[in-house]
Amino acid sequence: MQAAILTFPVDAVPQAQSRCNGEELVEACIELTAEALVRTQSASRIDVSHAVDSVRAAHARGRPADLLAAIARLQHQDEQGLGEVIETLGDRVASTLNPAPQMIPFASRLIAPSAFYESFERLHKLARVLLAPVIFAEDTGSIGVGSVNPIAAALCAGKIQELVFRRFDIRPFLTITRLDYESWTLITHRHFEL
């Protein structure tokens, strides 16, 4: 088993790469996640369709939401045990990526990269709408992104690579990791004041 890094977003979803604003990136994330959920038989098309509507509505209200979490809530009404359902969905969605991103338990416990966010305000906004926080940034040469939804993390990583290259002529190394639901809730609250 290997953790996914770097090139997935660039190689696998070139059409998403060229999308530059937050709304387009979110839409790309919704479409790709929906496709992965259906392809892995993790959810029915009807459930996916309902969840997509609720996620789009949340974004329209300025409240970022993730499709994976929305599907999990549809399938599992009880908040207790939701984390397990999300993890299972995350496993399946991750299996559609190569290499599949791993769940690393301490990934959310690294110091928040506030200097990186300040330097790349736009990336902070993109990470916020994708709910895929930057978990570390070392010299802008090595950067980590995490989420419960590996597709969201991969899209955010691709965007970071693109914008950093544009500014510094350096292609940063990107690590993509999965976060558990509880850590993800805490870290998105901490990074994005949600």
Partner: protein, 168 residues
Amino acid sequence: MIQFDGISFSEPISRRIMAELVRHNPTYSDLAPNELIDQVSRFSFMSALAKLSGLAFFPRVAEFSESDLLRSCNAAVLARGFFTPLCREGQDTLVVAVANPWSELPEAYVALLFPDLEIVRIVTLASEITRSIEAAACHTAIRVAEPGPHAPHNGSAMRRERSGYVAF
């Protein structure tokens, strides 16, 4: 052949590392290998190894290592092999930090000690592995020095701790 932080890489792997670093920063293409190694940051170098081996890179891990896992290992083997078991993920996965992703020793050694756990490797700095091993040694030493109010009176646990400390 590249040597970095005490780790030697074979000629073919060195060439791949160089190519990856040049891809990362095209200005490196004008540099001789030794100059490039002097200029590149540890984070970028280790990230290049991670990318080439398809593993995730984490810049800091020592704070997250579980000392009970380390106490099951021989510290000399870990230090020599530039790896350390870090923590469990769920019931059946063990995260192992390595500084040389092409070494087969970490998986072979850890699998022998924890045969029921699936091993997930991540790449980190050699210095983080050293810190992790040293932190476990300190933790063990503190436990020897300060057994606390619930320590057994017969001293058997104390002897186990002490032998663990010597091993580190």
